[in-house]
């Protein structure tokens, strides 16, 4: 695409412009997709659609599949017992064979949560458009990619054409100043942003996270931030690539090597937002003022600093908001105006595409080392991928978790979405490092407090919602 050189552009606009294949006035643009990630749950109907229409996959070389959503995280020496899950995983493998797609199936040592393995394998690269039939595709935005979730019918479109009809989103700058205090993490940045602007705050927008606090984050922390962009309503969220990005990527399996790598990095260095570029919206957050965050309600916007009190619907003026808060507190069975600290917890879940990478597990292990899980609390640690699992075992983290009394499981989405049998019982409370606290998300009648791996590990030790800063050495 040609673009007038005098116009300063954001990274979001640059990636967009680079991918528009056709654009007619008044109609959505046709966007080329560089990487299409698929999994066993949102792809079967799409492949069936291709079959019925006698179509091929347009670019099998740009399409990757893995099994994560309905995949059991129990031992894999025996076949999958659940018939639906077994059929889904088998169908994925069959579809991938038939259409010539690389598949990291259950017996692959590259298997894992789709948003963990993309970056891990070096498939996700700066400047790309990345789609997946999954809400949390924005995770890949951490690499300076325009990455967003699509529905199953769109999965079929992309399989058939490698293109997608899209309306251009507005640009939204999220400037995070200052630096994080001990015990406060990337998860707390994103939870506080969502709490501040609400679950509709980013609607119609793509976030660009920037500022010194974002630059200071590792790639895995950046993925945690971008991962939950959709929970603020945004189409996507991204972070411009920098040396942290290139250091993380260098040498990974699917990244260019040698001279091609140097050329790619040179190209990627032109991606960051130009000086003087304008955003449609912006917000500034002071990282230094953040506390560990936790959600109390039934959407990710219902979050508070760990030491704060649960809000009182009586103090909310908007009647719709008041009703929704009251309804949430009824579901959660929480009293308004009371602190969440000290609230008993039944289950702690450490995992999901938000927080299941090696640094997340190291954080949790740092707190659990030499300590014991509180009696009566079930703690599940579910690594995001087979490779994360191997790495954690090489570092002895599995032993720390087991010694503490936590379950160390196989890779998958697990209790984040509770499709694989890992779930809460009705009325149970979890502190979960995942991304959604909707009613029944982690099992019918289950109640979810979203938090960071550090805060989750703190709850594992005390058996209650706790301030991790009091447990840090």
């Amino acid at each position: 695409m040609t673009q007038s050189s005098d116009k300063s552009r954001t990274i979001i606009e640059k990636i967009w412009d680079n991918h528009v294949v056709a654009q007619q006035p008044g109609a959505p643009a046709l966007l080329f997709i560089d990487l299409h990630l698929t999994h066993e749950v949102t792809s079967p109907q799409a492949f069936e659609g291709l079959r019925q229409r006698g179509l091929k996959v347009r670019r099998p070389d740009l399409t990757i599949a893995t099994a994560d959503h309905s995949t059991p995280t129990t031992p894999r020496s025996l076949p999958i017992l659940d018939k639906v899950a077994a059929a889904q995983v088998a169908q994925l493998e069959t579809n991938c064979r038939e259409f010539g797609i690389r598949c990291f199936g259950l017996n692959s040592d590259q298997q894992g949560i789709v948003h963990v393995i993309g970056p891990e394998q070096g498939l996700t690269q700066p400047g790309m458009t990345v789609v997946c039939g999954d809400s949390h595709t924005a995770t890949h935005g951490a690499f300076g990619a325009l990455a967003f979730g699509i529905g199953t019918s769109q999965v079929e479109h992309v399989l058939a054409s490698q293109c997608l009809l899209q309306n251009q989103s507005k640009t939204y700058q999220v400037l995070v100043e200052g630096s994080l205090k001990p015990g406060v993490t990337a998860k707390d940045i994103i939870l506080s942003l969502i709490a501040r602007i609400g679950i509709g705050g980013g609607t119609g927008c793509v976030f660009e996270y920037c500022g010194p606090a974002i630059r200071a984050l590792s790639m895995e922390e950046r993925m945690t931030v971008c991962n939950m962009s959709i929970e603020a309503g945004a189409r996507a969220g991204l972070i411009a690539p920098d040396d942290t990005t290139y250091q993380y990527m260098a040498g990974r399996h699917y990244v260019p090597k040698g001279a091609a790598w140097d050329a790619a990095v040179a190209r990627w260095r032109s991606l960051p937002t130009d000086e003087g570029a304008c955003y449609d919206k912006s917000i500034t957050i002071d990282a230094s003022a953040l506390q560990p965050m936790i959600t109390f309600g039934t959407n990710p916007g219902m979050g508070i600093p760990i030491t704060a009190c649960v809000p009182d619907p009586a103090g909310v003026s908007d009647p719709l908001e008041r009703d929704s808060l009251a309804k949430a507190l009824r579901y959660m069975d929480l009293a308004p105006g009371k602190p969440l600290l000290g609230h008993p917890v039944n289950v702690v879940f450490i995992g999901s595409c938000t927080n299941s990478r090696i640094s997340d597990l190291r954080n949790a292990a740092r707190l659990l080392k030499g300590r014991k899980v509180h009696p009566g609390v079930r703690v599940m640690v579910v690594p995001g991928s087979h490779q994360v699992k191997e790495q954690a075992q090489a570092e002895g983290l599995d032993k720390i978790f087991r010694d503490a009394g936590a379950e160390w499981r196989e890779a998958g989405c697990s209790m984040c979405i509770a499709m694989n049998g890992d779930q809460l019982q009705p009325g149970e409370y979890s502190v979960s490092t995942s991304n959604r606290n909707f009613e029944g998300r982690q099992g019918k009648g289950g109640r979810t407090f979203l938090a960071s791996p550090l805060t989750a590990a703190a709850a594992a030790i005390t058996g209650t919602v706790s301030d991790v800063r009091e447990l840090l050495p």
Partner: protein, 359 residues
Amino acid sequence: MQLNVLILPGDGIGTEVTCEAVKVLEKVANRFQHELKLTEGLLGGIAIHKTGTPLPQETIDRALAADATLMGAVGLPEFDNAPPEKRPERGLLGIRKVLGVYANLRPVRSYKALLDSSPLKNALVDGVDMIIVRELTGGIYYGTPRGIYQDGEEHAVNTMAYTRSEIERVSRMAFHLARNRRKKVTSVDKSNVIETSQLWRKVVIEVAAEFPDVALDHLLVDNCAMQLILNPRRFDVLVTENMFGDILSDEGAVLAGSIGMLPSASIGDRKPSGAWVGLYEPVHGSAPDIAGQNKANPFGAIGSVAAMLEYSFGLKEEAAAVNRAVEAVLNSGRVTADLKPSGQPATTSQVGDAVASAI
């Protein structure tokens, strides 16, 4: 991880070998930091003595609650003339039926130290490593009509029957196991003569399409019986229907040098919690003739612990540690009388101690 294991020692040498298996399991739990929760239950003759039935309801409840069940052996001569429902063996069949275990896995491997114990030439047996997967709940042992009746002269009838889903699930088990091994499945049938085998072969071929990385071949059961002796190393995972498996797995036992070496795993899916059911037991019986003398070979029971660690708990490293310890003790020559020890035979408990300390 937490290992909730039900122990059903049973009768005769069952109690002795199970005691050694538990010793080994405890050592593994200790060494690899697993939390072992053992419960014990009654099965077989001892259950008849204490409760009047070979399979008390409490045992069933405990088996359903446990992650895995380790059994010894059942059978006492005093019940030889008892009515069928009052015989210890009824407990064994009963628990298999209640738990719906449809796949019987028999790992068969040769050990360097025992090559001379096999009646076959060392060169044939050395390096044998296979799993025989026998369908356990269908086929001629369960089919109806069955019985003996009078119609002019005496008639007897049995029915060999299989459904597609019965064949599918056991073949998926075989292919899955092969995927984690040498990626070869040999399906054994008699499809040149009988219809159940024709359906068997058709369904196995269809299931194989789900596992393109695993090679499949077919043998007729008569030829298979021969190949097991002529060229046992050709087998990786052998899958077959109930009666053929019953016969072929005994043939396989000879390859290992002694039936006392053989472990088994019976896997099923009839558990309310939605987890796999695993019953683990040595292949041998209760051997009343040597019971109480501390001379039974505990390797079959110990091997069953290794199978349990691998299949029910996915603990491959731990399972490998048990198998290595078994191999080390075999090489030391400190084994029970049935394995032709180099000097004075070791007792059952000495073998158990040696394996535990080698882990």
